[in-house]
């Protein structure tokens, strides 16, 4: 008997418009527990809008968004401790050291100072920042700061981690190392991740499934990626080409 798949994020016929501008049109998608899903799209495809609706900072115009069984906008408080976000920029508070930034979420969730510190140190160690705990953000490199940001998100042990272009501002080598490290940690601790990016390589490399968004429309493509596909450069290149093709088309009415 196989265990039932638990859905962590579900969007059903979700539309969002800003005035007359339709950003998302009847979008339906889901992310299951333990999955790493990449949400791909070119600029203006509505990735950030979808992310904000899932975070609960934006209300959909119509349709239903559920995160861990709750409406993230209406039941904002109920997702306390269940969701963490790593943003495009590290967003570290400059007056807090690396470990103090890492433990911030735990302190907000009411974890005792001693336990928060211990867990923060553990996560900094896991993201390979042992020895830099007491450095202030301005004393760290861009890659190190982004690692602290990831540790801060992982540290609260959330059901869901949202990554909003978290690696896109880093150089290629640092970005690749960080992606690999993050994917390894996320899989090891069975974290559910929704990863927003405009870089196809990033999505193919670390996700179990890619969802391609089209500007002002719904989903243009959805594909699963398994280890076999990842190991086959020819098939991977084919998929890359298909995704690039789907990303580059205009709004739904043009196609």
């Amino acid at each position: 008997m196989s265990a039932a798949v638990e859905t962590v994020i579900s969007l059903r016929d979700v539309s969002k418009s800003f005035g007359s501008l339709l950003v998302a049109d009847k979008l339906t998608m889901r992310v299951d527990r333990g999955e790493i899903v990449a949400l791909l799209g070119q600029t203006g495809a509505g990735k950030s809008t979808v992310m904000n609706m899932i975070m609960g900072t934006l209300q959909p115009t119509s349709g239903e968004v559920r995160v861990a069984g709750h409406d993230p906008y209406q039941e904002f408080e109920k997702l306390r401790g269940k969701l963490a976000v790593s943003f495009q920029t590290d967003r570290l508070l400059p007056w807090r050291t690396a470990v103090e930034n890492t433990e911030l979420g735990l302190l907000i969730l009411g974890v005792s100072a001693a336990e928060a510190r211990q867990r923060a140190l553990t996560w900094l160690n896991r993201v390979r920042l042992a020895g830099a705990e007491d450095k202030y953000p301005h004393e760290l490199s861009g890659g190190m700061r982004q690692r602290v940001s990831l540790a801060r998100a992982l540290c609260v042990d959330p059901e869901l981690i949202l990554l909003d272009e978290s690696f896109s501002q880093l150089d290629h080598v640092t970005s690749k190392t960080l992606r690999e490290d993050f994917a390894q940690v996320a899989r090891q601790y069975n974290k559910t991740c929704l990863f927003v990016t405009h870089r196809i390589e990033d999505a193919l490399e670390m996700s179990d499934r890619v969802i391609v968004l089209r500007p002002g429309a719904g989903i243009a493509l959805e594909r699963s990626i398994d280890a076999a596909l990842r190991a086959d450069p020819v098939r991977l290149q084919e998929l890359h080409t298909i995704i690039a093709d789907r990303m580059s088309v205009g709004p739904a009415s043009d196609t």
Partner: protein, 266 residues
């Protein structure tokens, strides 16, 4: 786990800071002493006494009137701490309660338009107790500086930080504790450094008008007795007091803002 990558070192900005320290102050002091000495050769003693005479008067004041220095310093300290607390509170209320903001802002702006002399004269009418008068005068003059500065600080809070902290679903007091209060510390310190000299001048004026105790009242007494050397002696003490307060604030700033990267422009 592997070794930590080499951190990026902070810019070498220590040298310009050192150049802003004690040496320029000493150079200016020596220059002023020389200027006073030269002036004393050409002017009568009741207009410009020599630096030595001023020094003797200063020593005499320190030996006999130190209580007045303590009283003035205490008044200054209490008023600044109160103005800081009330100003920060008003600034925070303006920053986080948009509905109340226009009313408090209007009140603060009107306050800044009232001349210090008006407050001093009104304080004499309204309050009989000299301590209350001085406290009131200093408070109404200093509070707007803090309130407007803190409000400005909250307005400049990066949206990215707010979104980051809100992603953890904090209570409102947690946003205040973990984000807003640490963010406004530099604004509080900068405002204090800006107003300290002004506050010293205001406390002296207030004492001159509204009290028989304190540096201001002693300066008034020296003036009435044609003791220009004492007036200049008190002035020297006030300058030193101001420099000491600025130095203490700089030290406090270095301690509280050690997280801040110093930048220098070539």
């Amino acid at each position: 786990m592997s070794a930590v990558p080499k951190p990026v070192s902070s810019p070498a900005a220590a040298e310009p800071i050192r150049r802003e320290g004690l040496i320029p102050v000493l150079v200016v002091v020596v220059g002023l002493v020389v200027a006073v000495q030269i002036a004393s050769f050409y002017l009568p003693p009741f207009v410009m006494p020599s630096p030595l005479t001023i020094l003797k008067a200063t020593i005499e004041i320190l030996q006999t009137d130190y209580v007045h220095i303590g009283v003035t310093a205490l008044r200054l300290l209490v008023a600044i701490l109160f103005a800081m607390a009330l100003g920060v509170l008003l600034g925070i209320v303006m920053g986080i309660f948009p509905r109340i903001r226009p009313y408090i802002r209007a009140l603060v702006i009107i306050d800044t338009g009232i001349p210090a002399l008006s407050w001093m004269l009104l304080a004499i009418f309204w309050f009989g107790e000299p301590e209350v008068r001085i406290f009131f005068i200093l408070s109404v003059i200093l509070v707007p500086f803090y309130a407007l500065s803190i409000f400005d600080g909250i307005r400049s809070l990066p949206r990215d930080w707010v979104d980051m902290i809100e992603s953890f679903r904090p209570r409102r007091w947690q946003v205040l504790r973990y984000l807003i209060l640490p963010h406004i510390v530099p604004y509080v310190l900068t405002t204090t450094k800006s107003v300290i000299g002004y506050a010293v001048r205001m406390v002296i004026f207030s004492e001159l008008i509204a009290s028989a105790v304190g540096i201001g009242s002693r300066m008034s007494l020296a003036q009435s007795m044609f003791r220009i050397d004492s007036v200049l002696g008190w002035t020297v003490i006030l300058i030193v007091l101001n420099l000491m307060l600025q130095a203490a604030l700089t030290a406090l700033e270095k301690h509280l803002l050690k997280w801040r990267a110093e930048a220098s422009v070539r």
